[in-house]
Subunit: 122 residues, 2 copies
Amino acid sequence: MEWKLTDDRPIWMQLSEQMARRIVAGQYPPGSKLPPVRELAADAGVNPNTMQRALAQLESDGLAVSNRTAGRAVTEDAAAIESVRRTMARRITKEFLSAIADLGYTREDALALLKEEEDTHG
Amino acid sequence: MEWKLTDDRPIWMQLSEQMARRIVAGQYPPGSKLPPVRELAADAGVNPNTMQRALAQLESDGLAVSNRTAGRAVTEDAAAIESVRRTMARRITKEFLSAIADLGYTREDALALLKEEEDTHG
DNA sequence: GTTATTGTATTAGGCACTTAGTACAATAAT
DNA sequence: ATTATTGTACTAAGTGCCTAATACAATAAC
């Protein structure tokens, strides 16, 4: 998954969320070392300060730990990662159902929309 | 639907989206008159300038028209409204599927999440 | 032991968003 | 005809985000 950044939300928040997705999706396994701040920043095309803030948030969420000069690593607590993954999935699902309902669609409509989208894009 | 505002995105953008949802959901029927800017602003608890910007966006989207001193009204083009509704629904659905996939879930998982959420919250 | 790397902190500046306050022209309401 | 309403425009100030540039301490790498 490449970096997807929009200008309608703070970049550091988007970076933090996308790093979180990479971690819970297994791209960065539990205990594995994360790339240096400067490298991640260059890869995402943002200022190191911005990536620094994103990673700080990642630590607040319990997904990463900082070892100062030894770099940053994903937490070794696999259960915590899985917990975050489920929480994120539930939140996304809830928001989807809420958004669809706000448009005046029923749950049958929601399922139909899902099927249509899956049929369209493989 | 009450106003749901967060501080991680421009308020005028959220206001515009929520007004759009109300229109496509039928809360403000085609051709009906919209409340004055100042009233909407007071109801949402924001500055009139901010609501003004949101409504200007709504006009750019073709969902509302301004009649100067006669106030603002929803477009009478019901087909245009329905088109926006479908477009919004498709975008929301696509983003849901993409977000779920980013977390490493399959489509069967997605359906299971939906069922679980529906069972939980009515 | 020396050097390079890493996380972190600091300062400064530009920019967009939001609020507050004010004002104006056109027209609906009386 | 007078008044109130409505959309719109403008300026000023405060705030947060982002970038840029720099610096430092600790430690890994050599």
